[in-house]
């Protein structure tokens, strides 16, 4: 589904954000990408739907090369869902409008159809009462659940999560993770940048560990947690798991 081959990215100021990264996500697979801050994990996931460009290598999503000039990026993105650290709901639209705007303007669905789909997904994330509100009236956890519903409204073939719980207060993390776990169990293909190792243990198939722009470790979940091969991954795990 997602194939990342030797991807390198250098910023104009010379900073190398990604060094020859390769990994892949199969259909129905959930992979968790973790690593210290500044390790390039967010950059990598944003390369997958072309929000960030890269100079070398190739990313193929569902048979379409993301880096190719000929690729219709809007069309590709319309069926690759993405959830951001800071939610990025559109504050001037109601919750329901957030869910319908791309359905009607991008997918060309009829208004009634989009509204129906929007209500269904709000119900699914447990927020059906909040449809007429504005995002500013919701808590962080609720906003992120709306953001997930917004992405799902496009019927994505896979979902990208860029640190979906990092900006949340601790008591709101679980309500978002619950939605994600349910999604994973339903067989959604997911690439998740997160530090939530509990989530990784519960639903991930593989864990990718990044450090300084490199993929240091790419292992099955149990293998990663039980016997991480690299020192850097072991150090990272001991730092975030010692509680």
């Amino acid at each position: 589904m997602i194939d990342i081959q030797n991807v390198s990215k250098v910023y104009p100021n010379g900073f190398q954000a990604l060094k020859s990264c390769s990994t892949h996500v199969e259909k129905g697979e959930v992979i968790v990408v973790c690593g210290p801050s500044g390790s390039g994990k967010s950059t990598l996931i944003k390369c997958v739907n072309g929000l960030e460009d890269f100079q070398e290598g190739e990313i193929v999503v569902n048979g379409i090369s993301v880096g190719s000039r000929k690729t219709n990026l809007p069309k590709l993105r319309s069926h690759v869902g993405m959830v951001f650290q800071h939610f990025e709901l559109f504050p001037h639209m109601t919750v329901l409008e957030n869910l319908t705007v791309a359905q009607t303007k991008v997918l060309g669905r009829k208004k009634e159809e989009a509204v129906e789909r929007g209500h269904k997904l709000l119900d699914r994330v447990g927020l059906s009462d909040h449809a007429p509100k504005y995002p500013g009236q919701l808590s962080g956890g609720q906003q992120q659940r709306v953001a997930i519903a917004r992405a799902l409204a496009m019927d994505p073939i896979c979902m990208l999560f860029d640190e979906p719980t990092s900006a949340l207060d601790p008591e709101m993390i679980n309500e978002v993770l619950d939605v994600m776990v349910e999604l994973a169990r339903e067989g959604m293909t997911m690439m998740v940048v997160t530090h939530e190792m509990g989530f990784a243990r519960k639903v991930a198939h593989r864990v990718v560990f990044m450090d300084r722009g490199e993929i240091v470790e790419d292992a099955q979940k149990d293998e990663f947690f039980e016997r991480a091969r690299s020192d850097r991954a072991r150090q990272f795990l001991s730092k975030i798991l010692h509680h």
């Binding site: 929000l51 809007p74 319309s78 869902g81 800071h86 559109f90 504050p91 791309a102």
Partner: protein
């Protein structure tokens, strides 16, 4: 002590109302065209194309660096001739009104563009990423997501600029256009009551602008409540 005599005001009201209509016409048109053109200039200025961006930057700098009255004089000297020749018209007064509208539109666009540029930049950069990630084209992301938020943030500033524009329209007297101020001045000169007529015109400008800016302020406070 000067003896005030306000008897000229009342009979001249219809005449001054005609002038006010010209003032409002120029204000509304220059505002609409100025904001539309200003939006284009702001977007071009923020685009990645260096040549285009430099062009719109020079447009803004040029118009902000010359006195408005000079731009108006240029236009009154050159544009009516051009328009008259182009459309084979005689040099009529309404050609002067048209060139005043054009001059104000172009001049105001430079000021509006800077306000709109700041407004666009005030929208969080993640918003465009989110819009693109949903499959929107760049144009859709601007139109549906960025500009509505930008305009909401900058509406008070745009209106304040429009109030300034409303006052500045009085400068059209250099183009022999009879606006509200021009009309008041003519009556004053005719009756030898220039002081009273100009004081009266000033009071009208003051009341109009004061009420408008109070409205802007109230609206601004309401927007702030909705935003939180």
């Amino acid at each position: 002590m000067y003896d005030f005599d306000w008897s000229s005001v009342r009979p001249a009201l219809p005449f001054m109302w005609d002038g006010m209509k010209v003032t409002l016409k120029i204000t509304v048109l220059a505002m609409s065209v100025g904001i539309a053109l200003g939006t284009v200039i702001a977007m071009v200025r923020l685009s990645k194309n260096r040549a285009l961006s430099a062009f719109s930057a020079s447009y803004v700098n040029l118009f902000r660096s010359v006195p408005l009255i000079m731009v108006l004089l240029w236009f009154s000297l050159i544009v009516p001739d051009v328009i008259a020749r182009l459309f084979n018209l005689s040099r009529m007064a309404n050609v002067q009104v048209i060139s005043a509208m054009v001059a104000f539109s172009l001049f105001q666009a430079a000021y509006y563009a800077e306000i709109i540029r700041a407004g666009i930049q005030s929208v969080k950069s993640g918003q465009i990423g989110a819009a693109l990630a949903l499959g929107m084209t760049f144009g859709q992301a601007m139109r549906l997501v960025v500009l509505p938020q930008a305009f909401r943030n900058m509406t008070p500033l745009l209106l304040t600029q429009t109030i300034i524009l409303f006052q500045d329209t009085s400068l059209v007297y250099v183009m022999q256009v009879r606006d509200f101020f021009g009309a008041a001045n003519i009556v004053g000169t005719r009756d030898g009551r220039q002081v009273e007529m100009i004081l009266f015109a000033g009071a009208v400008y003051f009341v109009a602008c004061f009420v408008l800016s109070k409205l802007v302020k109230r609206w601004q406070e309401r927007l702030r409540v909705v935003a939180t």
